[in-house]
């Protein structure tokens, strides 16, 4: 319940920030859409008490974003070179990548990170391993993806350790 209220207030604050107008009509619309969003999220089961033993470190996440930005720049450059080459040479592959995250949030972060770096796309996430599509043999680098996997897993920590 506290969580629901906090998310509701956060959503309404976001509405006020983005609208910047304080007419009754607009505030009313803001309240209605906040309530609608909460109702949809409730229906999707997003407020169910998840396993709270594993937490995520915010500082670790920010540090990870910095590392990810460099990786994105590097792979952007490699795909740019392929696009601008006289003849396009691709060796597309689908391959499995093992994951070690405990939480859903960690898995989402890993899958999204793989897609954000051009030249790799997460295709299937149903199982313990992700199915990843790579543009070239060079991009299908399991070591680099294992490094990413390790870095995301270090963001997660058990409550007892902290």
């Amino acid at each position: 319940m506290v969580r629901l209220l906090a998310i509701g207030l956060g959503l309404f604050a976001l509405w006020l920030l983005l609208s910047g107008l304080f007419k009754p009509l607009l505030i009313g619309l803001g309240i209605v859409s906040t309530l609608a969003t909460l109702a949809i999220a409730q229906r999707m089961g997003l407020f169910k008490k998840a396993n709270n033993d594993t937490q995520h470190s915010f500082v670790g996440f920010i540090l990870y974003l910095g590392w990810l930005a460099v990786e994105i720049a590097k792979s952007n450059w490699s795909v740019t070179r392929i696009i601008l080459a006289k003849t396009i040479t691709l060796q597309q592959t689908l391959f499995d990548v093992p994951t070690s995250q405990k939480t859903d949030l960690g898995k989402v972060l890993f899958a999204n990170s793989i897609i954000l770096t051009p030249a790799t796309i997460t295709v299937e996430t149903e199982n313990k391993t992700f199915l990843v599509h790579a543009l070239t043999e060079e991009a299908a680098d399991l070591d680099a993806l294992a490094e990413m996997d390790r870095r995301i897993t270090t963001i997660e920590y058990d409550k007892g350790d902290a």
Binding site: A73, N76, N112, T122
Partner: protein
């Protein structure tokens, strides 16, 4: 105009121009690449380098204002929705049997462990038939 202003303005213009160039490169890639899967990668350039650099350049132009906060929010939303929609498209293509050109991984067209329960039309048509027969 102080030196700092000139530097910020310069960095801002460099990132706006580079971002635009990446948009053009991404569009070129979408046209030049041979099949669906490789085109997704070209679109990823537009998403990450193109949009990212343009937003950075615009934020530097706006300075510390409300506009910058909104630009950062746009960036955050793009970072979440872009990959998610790319994954949705790629997953739909994979499940419906599309495979990359020259793929040698030998992934079965309908992997048994991926689709559960198997997508067969039989139970639905059977129900429909029962309905039809009961009415007549």
């Amino acid at each position: 105009m102080s030196i700092l202003d000139i530097v910020i303005n310069g960095v801002s213009w460099v990132s706006i121009v580079t971002g635009s160039i990446f948009l053009i490169i991404g569009a070129t890639g979408i046209i030049r690449f041979p099949d669906f899967w490789s085109r997704l990668h070209a679109a990823a350039i537009v998403d990450s380098a193109g949009a990212g650099l343009l937003l950075l350049g615009m934020a530097l132009q706006a300075g510390l204002t409300f506009v910058t906060i909104k630009l950062v929010l746009i960036g955050i939303f793009l970072l979440i929705t872009g990959p998610t929609s790319t994954h949705a498209i790629a997953n739909a293509a994979f499940v419906s049997g599309s495979r990359p050109l020259g793929d040698k991984s030998g992934k079965p067209v309908v992997p048994a462990d991926v689709i559960e329960p198997p997508l067969t039309a039989e139970p639905i048509t059977a129900e429909l038939n029962e309905d039809l027969t009961s009415k007549t």
